[in-house]
Amino acid sequence: MQGVPQGLPRKEGTIAIFPSLARGLILLCTAVLGVASAAPGASLLERGEYLVRAGGCTNCHTDEEGAFLAGGRALHTPFGTFYAPNITPHLRHGIGAWTDADFLRAMKAGLSPDGENYYPAFPYVAYAGMRRQDVLAIKAYLNSVPAVAQPNRPHQLPWYLHFRPGVWLWKWRYLSPLARTTDGAVDPVQQRGEYLVNALAHCGECHTPRDWFGGLIDAQRHAGSVYGVDGDVVPNITPDRKTGIGKWSGDDLSFYLQTGLTPDGDSAGGPMAAVIDNVTSRLTNQDLQAMVRYVLSIPPIENVLQSRQSKTKRDPYEY
């Protein structure tokens, strides 16, 4: 592990088969088709762009009416309202002045270049499982997008969360990428799916319930949560037949992730509609299939979710 900053996962091993496998495949395809390979710079940027989508970066860092990746999307959580910052290469307001090491440390250890802790609304717990070269490809792509001079909005947090060093304690307890990203998947497709679901697309950040301190409850991974963004109920996506998606076929799930249509003809709405638009519908078919294979291989967990504060529970005559 040359030049890897401290606090990085020791996880590279499980997914290390991939780069070589992928590289081998690419070499094979290039040889067979006789395609002249593009300039390495361009392919790095393309890969970075793909990973920025797959990692869901645009989903939070781009405001619906705002400039691309210039920040601003409000995340309403039980721990306050967070505003995703500007990650365009603007020198003052964005991350244009960051070194590769700064970026790696932010993504995988949740630390700013000044050594300040990020709140875990930024899903570094998931990104910690990302491969180093993928993180650097993302950085390369981010450096190539237009710089936008948009200052960051400060988070709106309750008083007891203003003390940022407190996040150290949180990280000490909850930042364990080793536990979060390995399920012991052996099949390479499933392994790719695991990487996409857990490290990149960070599905569990919403679909896994959280404990009192906002840490993900590992034993209930992907079993759904009533503490979703904007107070929503987030469904159980383990293949439990009663309370999860156990009745969905692999085809049903990939169709849903491409179109938002459920097997009963309903359409995704709310935050998941945005995730489908920005993330899952943009995956290559191969990655989508891998994601589906992995999700349907998760051990089913029975978990009935009861909404905490739903409009439909409100007394109709209450004004």
Binding site: L261, G269, G270, A273, T312, P316
Partner: protein, 154 residues
């Protein structure tokens, strides 16, 4: 004395009328919401059926035109399902429908256009064409549900 009696009586009458109106309006609202949900569920039913055919899972191609037409016809007047003041009660319709009418009009227009295009494509019975148009219908559903429907509770 008579004046006091008259005042009291008319006051009571007015109050009664007001209460009666409130009850009637509330009842009507609930009926509209029930109707709206029935219509939306019927669209969902046609979508589920059409999806199975479009994806080539089942061999009921002859019925696709019927599903496509039902979806398209319903969506032509979709806004009429959301009259003002039907945002309380047992509904997941969000206030944004009435507070952001321009945006709501835009997604309604899109769903009209997409469902008509799908219906037309099915009539031409070119499989590739209607598969793409079906995807556009799904996108239109999703675009509206993203901003104007409360997320599901289980």
């Amino acid at each position: 004395m008579l004046n006091i009696l008259k005042t009291t009586l008319s006051g009571l009458l007015l109050l009664g009328a007001a209460v009666w109106t409130i009850i009637a309006v509330a009842a009507e609202t609930e009926d509209i919401i029930k109707y709206r949900q029935g219509v939306m569920k019927s669209v969902g039913g046609h979508m589920a059926a059409a999806a199975q055919i479009v994806r080539g899972k089942v061999d009921y191609g002859d019925d696709l035109g019927y599903h496509a037409e039902s979806i398209a016809r319903t969506m032509q007047t979709v806004e009429s399902l959301f009259p003002k003041d039907t945002d309380f009660g047992e509904t997941r319709a969000l206030d944004a429908i009435w507070s952001e009418p321009d945006k709501f009009k835009a997604v309604s227009d899109e769903s009209r256009a997409a469902t008509s295009a799908f219906h037309d494509a099915v009539k031409s019975s070119d499989k590739n064409a209607y598969a793409a148009k079906f995807k556009a219908v799904a996108d239109a559903c999703k675009a509206c549900h993203k901003d104007f429907r409360e997320k599901k509770e289980q």
